[in-house]
Symmetry: C2
Subunit: 341 residues, 2 copies
Amino acid sequence: MKEREGTKKISLAHGSGGKLTHNLIKEVFLTNFENPLLKPLSDSAIIDLNGRKIAFTTDSYTVTPIFFPGGDIGKLAICGTVNDLAVMGAKPLHLSCGYIIEEGLDYEALVKITKSMSETAKIAGVQIVTGDTKVVEKGKGDKIFINTSGIGICEYEFKEVQIGDKILISGGIGDHEIAILAARESLGLETEIKSDCAPLWDLISQVLTSSHKVKFMRDPTRGGIATVLNEITESKNFGILLHEENLPIKEEVKGVCALLGFDPLYLANEGKVIIVVASEDADELINVMQEHTLGKDAQIIGEVIDNKNLSSIHGKVCIKTKAGGTRIVDMMVGEQLPRIC
Amino acid sequence: MKEREGTKKISLAHGSGGKLTHNLIKEVFLTNFENPLLKPLSDSAIIDLNGRKIAFTTDSYTVTPIFFPGGDIGKLAICGTVNDLAVMGAKPLHLSCGYIIEEGLDYEALVKITKSMSETAKIAGVQIVTGDTKVVEKGKGDKIFINTSGIGICEYEFKEVQIGDKILISGGIGDHEIAILAARESLGLETEIKSDCAPLWDLISQVLTSSHKVKFMRDPTRGGIATVLNEITESKNFGILLHEENLPIKEEVKGVCALLGFDPLYLANEGKVIIVVASEDADELINVMQEHTLGKDAQIIGEVIDNKNLSSIHGKVCIKTKAGGTRIVDMMVGEQLPRIC
């Protein structure tokens, strides 16, 4: 920024959830908003309010189209924020809702989205307790953007990730991003794939009551599971090894990926959770998840490994392919598809 | 969306803070998000978390231009949310920050706004603890929109508004909206007026420790003091009488209003608070406020009156003009100027 000031511009990739987003957060936000509560950069901040730990999170939703197979921007805004609290081991309680509406939006579309938020909130067991509405001129927005912030009460303390821990996923990956992709009329892509958009607290609370050895949880949205796993190993003395053959991916998702050159590891999900748990509890957690509607395709997909003697992959995420090779899975650079959430 | 139902569209006035916003909130949000915490429709929701009352609020900022005399969208986003907590008698503590950036925004503008948020947060004594960044395509947003949600701890319990109570304002009205208006290049309006944009907790906490007879507080933003006062009397058995001669309004604001046909009662403020207090404490509170930088022009501007025998103005807000007449001050219909906050 020093030399040719003003020439550097924000690009779509800055909002991708990948490498540029991470750099932006570090360069601009962490340096200016510096404080110990923000620093962990988790999905929610953990705040001590008079000895009670609460989780606080925010997300703005700009998905296009606003209605898509499996959901709409309203359902997504509830699920996303509920899940950001849930993966911190916090029971989601209260949500805010801020609308930025483009002038000319059909009143009925707003009603439909609001009803969808209300229904999803009921399913998730949360209340929308405060809100705000802004309207911008036609051409200065895109139908509707929704911000939901949320508060939850922390019910679980995560342990430290260790070598040997297993990596679990609650189900098939990539459905949300492929559903959004297919819903964009211009692509003319025909598929039956629906967004996996769902509130995860019920599943997660069952996981957390079944094992006291859960080390980490995260919902792999923008940037996909590759980005989440890279966050786990960042500045750590261990790596992660995934097994491609164990990754639950629908055939149809694989097909679209092959067609368009997408890597499913980077596809966004909106109703999945990645769990790191002590090896001895992994099978039990898979059983618990598979009995839940939202976890029936749960799988152990990899493990935390000691790769510090392998300088080329030290602290990296790697995947053992079906063909038998091993490749590094880096954080996403640029992005596959903008505005998926 | 049915076909003729779809003819009803969201207009800019739905985001004005006036009558259409109120109708929208009641028709769409209150009916769908129905719950006792949302129902009071205050600036913040008051939540009981294990016996501790906390305030929770959200606001999205879409002001244009994003830099204006006296502030910028970042400063505004901190002040607005801090003030929404403060007027509920809650000490503001933790804020979230959600950016929706239009592709192509100068990186330096983002840095400048972020620095401004950081500085204002320091002055206000709050921490930004969680955030989110989305980027939308050029032409699908307008430089930057910011959502800030906030949490505070309730430190004061307001009493019931009664006939005889005094209405106070902490200073001159209309500065913010006139500053925004003048900053819009197309208008070619030259004025020295700066936005009054400021965090009010310090002033408000001094007020609340000086009197235990404060009944109500609100920061008169969109819709101005007319809208706030109408909210106080809504479905109540009393009215409010303002005295035009006591209203603190800068000569320059009056001048612009006269020129453009604006009514200062409907102009947005971003660093002012309206206070309803028992008559016997009113003078003392004016003294307390006038000793504070942000309250030096504080005035008693009216009182809560018993007008139930005057059917034409029962439960209404009225103003006694300098000329000696009395007119009704209704809630704003439509809006004077879009996107002022």
